[in-house]
Structures are given as C-alpha cells and as structure tokens.
C-alpha cells in the first residue's frame, strides 16, 4: 500500500459513497421510503472516513517525502520544517480541494445526525451529497492530488516561499474553508424548505450553522489580513486583489443573510430574501474559487490551472440556478406582507442587507470590469484599490450608520421615545466629526471619529436599555449579560466600529520613506531615530537570510531581513513590525551592499492604528463565541421587554 494507492482508492470511494448517498437521498424523497433515508444517512460517515483516509494518505506521502506523487514533487522539499510539511496539503490547488471535500464530509455527517422530518432530511442530504459529488468528482478526474510521476525527482521544490514565512499559513486557509463549507448546510436547508414548502422553520434550525460559518469566515478574513501584513512586505493588509475580493463577496452576502435571518426568526418576515441571500452566499464561495483558479482575472496570487475553473463555474451556475429557480417557483407563497414601516428595525435590517449585497455587487463589478471592457471595447483597463476604496467608503459609512441605529429601532414602526435616542446619536456623530476637524484631521478621518463615537454611544445606550428592562422586570440588571445573543452582537458591532475607525486612519495617514544608510549613519524620520549597525548573513537550510541591525531610540534593536530562496528570482523582504497602540512601525530591508556590507537601504512605513484592527478582530471572535456559548440558564437568555 503506497500513499498514492491509498489516496486514489479513498478518493474513488468517497466519490462512490457520495454518489450512492445522493441517489438514496433522492429516492427517499421521491418514494417516501424511510429505508432509503436510513441508507443515505449511513453513507455520511463512510464518506467522511474515506475523505479522511485520502487526507491521511497525502500527509503520509509528505511526511515520508514520497516524490513519486506530483503534488509532493511540486510543493514539498526535503528540508522543509515539520510544520510546513504538515500544512502543505493546503499550499496548492489539488490539496486544498481535498481539504474542502474533507470538511464538507464532516459537515454532512454532523448535519445528518440532526433530527429532521424525513421529507426535508432527504432533500438536505441530497444537496449536501451533491456538493460532495462535485468536489470528489473534480478530485477524481481533473485535479487529483495523487497523480504520480513516472520519474520521481530526488527532491522537490517546496511550497511557495510566501507560504512558508509565517505560521498563519497553517491557520488562515482552514478558517476560510470552514466558513465556505459551513454555508452549505443553511443552503441545503433552504433548498429543502423550498422543495417541501415549509418556509419558516429552516432559519431557526440553521441558526448555529450560519453563525459558526460566518464566524469562521470573519476569522479567516482577519487572519488573512494579518498574514498579508506580516508576510508580504508592503505594509498593507488589504489590496483589493481578486483573490481577496473572491472571499470578501461571500462574507458580505453571509453577513446580509445573517441579519435577514434574524428578522425571519424574530418576526417571520423576509422569507424570500433569506432564500435569495443564502443561495447567493453559498454560490459566491464557488464563484470565488472559479475566479482564482481559471486565470480569468489577472491577480497577484491566482494560480491558473486548466479545467478546474470551468468546473467551478459550472457548479456555481448550477447551485445559483437551483436556489433562485426554486425561489421563483415559490415566490408567491413567500411574499412579504409589508406590515412594517421603513423606519423600523425590519426596515433598517433590510436596508443594511441591501447595502451589504450592493457592496458585494460593486466589488464583483470592479473585479470583472477589465474583462468586460476588453470583451466589448478591446481596450485594456485596470481597476485597482483606488476605485474599490472610493466606492466602499460611502457604503461602509452607510452601514456604520445603520448598525448604530438599527438595534435601537423598535419592530414594525417607530415610536416616540426612540427619537430621543436618535437625537443623542446624531449629536455624538456631529460632535465626533467636529472634534476631528478641529484636531486637523481630514474630512474622512473626522467622519470616522464621529461614526465611532456614534456607534459606541449606541452600544452603550443598548446596554443601558437592556439592563433597565431587566431591572424593571424585577431581575438583576447584570442578568442582561445572560442574553448572550444581544450582548455578543453588541460586542461584535462595537468591534466593527473600532475596525472601521482603525482602517480609516491607517489608510489616510500612512507614511513611507526609503533611505540608504551607511554604517553608523542615523536617520530621523516620523519620530523614530535609527542607526544602521551592519548586516549579517545566516544560512537557514532552505533559505539564506540577510539581517540588518538597526539600533533605534524607541524600540531597541530592530532586525529586518531579506530572505533568499533558491527557487525565487528576487529576495523576499521579511519585515520587522513594531506594534504600538498609536502607530505601527514597519521596518523593511530593501537592499544592502553585497560586497562589503557597508550600507543598507531601509524602508520605514508608519501606519497609525493598525494594531486596533487586530484587536477588533479578536473582539469579533470573542463576541461570536459569546453568542455561541451555551447559556447556563436558557430562560435568563431571553429578551426581556420593559414592563
């Protein structure tokens, strides 16, 4: 038994079991026979085991340096450290599809254990098995991680050095895939709801799935931003690169869905919107993979590979058509009877969902625009960060406004007492903006301050209101903390406001400069004084490193590096980042005197408030966890309205 044999066998088994599961689930629905359903459910753990076996086979091949596998030869090298070897399965295309497939089987298995009426259970399983069939089908045919080489090399090239430089490589892709795969379950439930015409309960039943998937997506995005910041050496965390956009779009749609789902749980409205949003959110994950795997859009990190692109495109079209087609079929029955006033919580949430999906559409437009223009006008244009930044700023501002005011608005229609709070909020907004302008900040940065104050005040007001309601109901005001959903979402909203403020300032006030320093020469820039002391070279096996020693007045000795990998033409700068609550100081060694080590060219990037972006990310994770944490006393977690 070789890894290749085990791998191919496992993939084939996983595909076969998934096909069988799909067939049985469909039969269960069409024939109404419970035995088919039992059979389908039994196949879920089998697909999980075979996927796991395939994954283990790949790890086995990597750990034993089995270069007869094409994937290992292309992505692994003998001198890779152990942790790099362990995460190599998701360093490239075929392995990441395997990881995706594995996670999908896991979720299918967990979903199959959940009690559900047989009609819907069969449709849910059919959809989930269908997704598995796609992934394992792709693996079995066009993107096999277990393809063998006739003449195996003695050593491989190792993974892309950009992926080796930082431990985040181990974490970020897994988080993203957990998020993507997590959306498949609400999608499956939605399809089942539309097929069986049971339109209400699915949202409540998939509540945790949606939140967990959203949580992973958010964590994955923030982790990716941090990785980009620490590794890529340009001092930024977001470049509106097509790959980033490809995973941003599902996040936006998932956030829209999260909020409209809440309305359906609480008020029964927005059924049609929820079906649409969950379909689009799930399909967007496939669209993203299509974008980055087909070379359609030129990107910094799109690795174009053959027929994988069209396969994902086809499946994207299929899943979108299924969801939206079913929706149009049942649209008459799920239409909203609009018994709410636009200026109500429903109205705010709906508007917010539109903003999110509008944002997703604009990002999609910008990403595809060069392609469209070339198709119709034959001209070559480029759409880069400036476009996305300028378009996102007003949308983001609108969302920040809605985020503050939305939870304060009552359901159905506005009430008198709410207006007092609204005046307070807008006063905070105006005050914050004014303060910013007085301190000499730009209009954009001042508005960011205003919006931050506005949202902080909104969160404080909501806390006060919640505690007051508890007190009036005869309970301890601190028992409000047990309303996990409320408190958790308030924390997340605050974190979003904080992140927006940090992003606004870091974009507006970024400063970078480059200077060549001779040994002993000092440079005073942006409030930092540094002196170049010398360079030294280090042999680290898989790479050479050249380290510059800079003595600074504030941070001690700082040592940015240049990493030289054999397989790369030019060296990779490995920055040294000093995080402070005020500014981030990002030291880069750009070049050095190769002959005598007498001079070094150093770039310093000073960006304010980047530290708070990561803090906000952590707060978002904490807030989500808080919501998910099982309540010790479920009765205490309910919403308590003032007497």
């Amino acid at each position: 038994m070789t890894p290749a044999l085990l791998g191919n066998l496992s993939v084939a088994l996983a595909l076969a079991f998934s096909l069988l599961g799909l067939a049985l689930a469909l039969l269960a629905y069409l024939q109404g026979d419970g035995r088919f359903l039992k059979g389908a459910k039994a196949l879920a753990p089998l697909t999980l085991l075979s996927a796991l076996a395939a994954f283990v086979a790949l790890e086995w091949a990597l750990l034993t340096h089995d270069f007869s596998l094409a994937y290992v030869a292309r992505n692994h090298a003998l001198q890779d450290p152990l942790w790099v070897t362990l995460v190599t399965p998701w360093a490239a295309l075929e392995g990441s599809i395997l990881l995706w497939g594995l996670l999908q089987t896991l979720y299918t298995f967990v979903a199959s254990r959940k009690p559900l009426d047989p009609w819907r259970a069969s449709v849910v399983l059919a959809v989930l098995f269908g997704v598995q069939v796609f992934f394992f089908g792709v693996m079995a045919t066009i993107a096999s991680p277990f393809q063998t080489l006739p003449n195996p090399p003695a050593d491989g090239t190792g993974p892309n050095p950009l992926l080796q430089d930082h431990w985040m490589m181990a974490v970020h892709p897994v988080l993203m895939y957990l998020g993507f795969v997590g959306l498949s379950v609400p999608y499956a439930y939605a399809v089942a709801a539309m097929v069986t015409r049971r339109y209400q309960s699915w949202v409540e039943e998939t509540r945790w799935w949606t939140l967990i998937a959203w949580g992973f997506l958010t964590a994955g995005k923030v982790a990716g931003m941090w990785w980009s910041y620490e590794v890529l050496g340009w001092g930024g965390y977001w470049a509106w690169d097509p790959v980033e956009n490809a995973s941003f779009i599902p996040w936006l749609l998932a956030t829209a869905f999260l909020h409209t789902a809440y309305v359906q749980q609480a008020r029964g409205a927005f059924k049609a919107w929820n079906f649409a949003f969950v379909t689009l959110a799930f399909s967007a994950t496939l669209l993203g993979t299509f974008l980055t795997r087909s070379g359609v859009i030129q990107s910094v990190h799109a690795f174009a590979e053959g027929p994988v692109g069209p396969a994902f495109l086809g499946f994207f079209l299929l899943s979108t058509a299924l969801g939206l087609g079913l929706l149009s079929r049942v649209s008459r029955e799920v239409r909203d009877v609009a018994v709410f006033h636009p200026f109500s919580r429903e109205g705010a949430l709906l508007l917010g969902a539109f903003f999110f999906s509008g944002w997703a559409l604009v990002v999609l437009l910008g990403t595809f625009y060069p392609l469209l223009v070339e198709a119709f006008a034959g001209a070559k244009v480029s759409v880069g960060a400036p476009f996305f930044n300028q378009v996102s700023a007003p949308i983001g501002a609108g969302l920040l406004l809605l985020m503050g005011v939305g939870p304060l608005l009552p359901w159905r229609r506005p009430r008198e007492e709410v207006f007092r709070n609204l005046y307070l909020l807008f006063a905070a907004l105006a005050l914050g903006t004014l303060l910013g302008l007085l301190r000499g900040y730009t209009l954009g940065a001042s508005l960011a301050v205003g919006l931050f104050l506005y949202n902080t005040l909104a969160v404080a007001l909501l806390f006060a209101e919640g505690m007051r309601a508890r007190r009036l109901a005869g309970l301890s005001p601190w028992s409000f903390l047990e309303n996990r959903r409320r408190v958790g979402s308030l924390l997340v909203h605050f974190a979003v406001a904080l992140m927006a403020l940090a992003i606004a300032f870091s974009q507006t006030y970024r400063l970078e400069a480059e200077k060549t320093l001779y040994r002993g020469q000092a440079w005073e820039v942006a409030g930092v004084r540094m002196a170049f002391q010398g360079v030294r070279a280090l042999d680290e096996g898989r790479r050479f490193a050249v380290e510059a020693r800079l003595s600074t007045d504030r941070f001690g000795e700082v040592r940015p590096r240049l990493h030289f990998y054999p397989q790369m033409n030019s060296p990779l700068p490995s920055p040294k980042v000093i995080y402070t609550p005020g500014n981030d100081y990002y030291f880069l060694l750009m070049d050095f005197d190769r002959e005598k080590g007498e001079w070094a060219s150093v770039r310093l990037i000073v960006t304010p408030m980047v530290f708070w972006i990561w803090v906000a990310g952590v707060l978002m994770a904490l807030g989500t966890l808080y919501i998910l944490w099982p309540a010790s006393r479920p009765e205490a977690a309910r919403e308590v309205s003032p007497a």
Binding site: S294, G295, V296, Q298, L324, E374
Partner: protein
C-alpha cells in the same frame, strides 16, 4: 418569460467568462506601436566586445530614419525566453545586416552575466547596457524579452512581447521593408 430572461443573463455571463478564459490576461498593448510614435531616442554605453566597431556609446538617434531597426530588450536572468530567441535574432541579423539594424538592450542585469550570455550565443549585433532599465520605461516595457520593430522613418511599428520565433520575426521584417 422571466425564466427566459434569467437563462439569457446566465448564457451571456457564461459566454463572457468562456471568452475570458481563452485570452492571456497579461498581454498589454503598446502605446508607442498603436500610435506609430517616433521611437524614443537614447544614448547608452556599449558592452566591451562592441566598442571597437561601434564606439564607446551608442546613440539611437544616429540611426533613426535611415532604415528599419529591430530593438530587442533582454536579460541574462530571463530564462527560458531570452535563451530561446537569442539564436533566432543572431541568425536574422546575419541574414539582413546590410538592410536592417539589430540592437540589443541588456536591461536590469549585471555586466559579467550579460557578457557570459553574449559569449554563449556568439551575438554579433551591437549590445548596449541599461542596468537601471530607464530606456525600458521610455518604451513602455513591462517584461523581458520584448522586441520593438522601428520602421524606416524612425517610428515604432510593432512590439512583440515574449520570445520571438523566426516566422514572426521574418514576417515583421517583410512588412518593414519598403
């Protein structure tokens, strides 16, 4: 009716994607070639082996308007494309040297590497040295190798990005000759 609309939209988008996947997203048009602009002049030092025949420095302006010129940007680290086209260029130079001037510009490279490359292929057409790549920017260069075809009036006629093969090279030369 609405269903047909969706089908049309989907088909339209799918068609665009399909077309998109056929083309090379990295190809870019050359402004100079599109507008037949006069070729930007430059003065660059010649590499040592050519100084005897062509002087210390080479000024393109001395040769503009006197006949077609083939200007080739290359570097020793551009593997394999520059290595593939070097023999093609040398052969064409030997064939057409009385009618067409071939000039090579070694860009963003180190002199010893460049000399090694020249020796490896026995290049006899004049080679100039542009370590900074300044002239490349003037020509709107975005990668190596790139070959510019300048017509008899000193205007840029065409730009070929990537390694050039014999057929394409001869094709352009035929179009350039009066």
């Amino acid at each position: 009716m609405r269903a047909w609309l969706w089908v049309l939209v989907v088909a339209f988008l799918a068609g665009i994607f399909w077309w998109g996947m056929q083309r090379n997203p990295r190809e870019l048009p050359s402004v100079l070639a599109k507008e037949r602009r006069p070729a930007p002049d430059f003065t660059l030092p010649l590499l040592p082996p050519y100084r005897a025949a062509w002087g210390e420095a080479f000024r393109l302006g001395d040769y503009l308007g006197k006949g077609p010129i083939v200007l080739n940007f290359w570097a020793s680290w551009c593997y394999p494309a520059c290595y593939e086209e070097a023999p093609v260029l040398e052969a064409a130079w030997r064939k057409h040297k009385d009618r067409v001037l071939f000039v090579g510009v070694n860009t963003q490279d180190k002199e010893p590497e460049a000399l090694r490359f020249i020796a490896q292929f026995g290049l006899t057409f004049p080679q100039v040295f542009d370590p900074r790549g300044r002239v490349g920017v003037d020509y709107g260069m975005y990668g190596v190798p790139e070959t510019f075809f300048i017509d008899g009036e000193g205007r840029v006629y065409a730009r070929h990005a990537g390694a050039i093969d014999e057929a394409t090279l001869e094709g352009y030369l035929k179009e350039l000759r009066p």
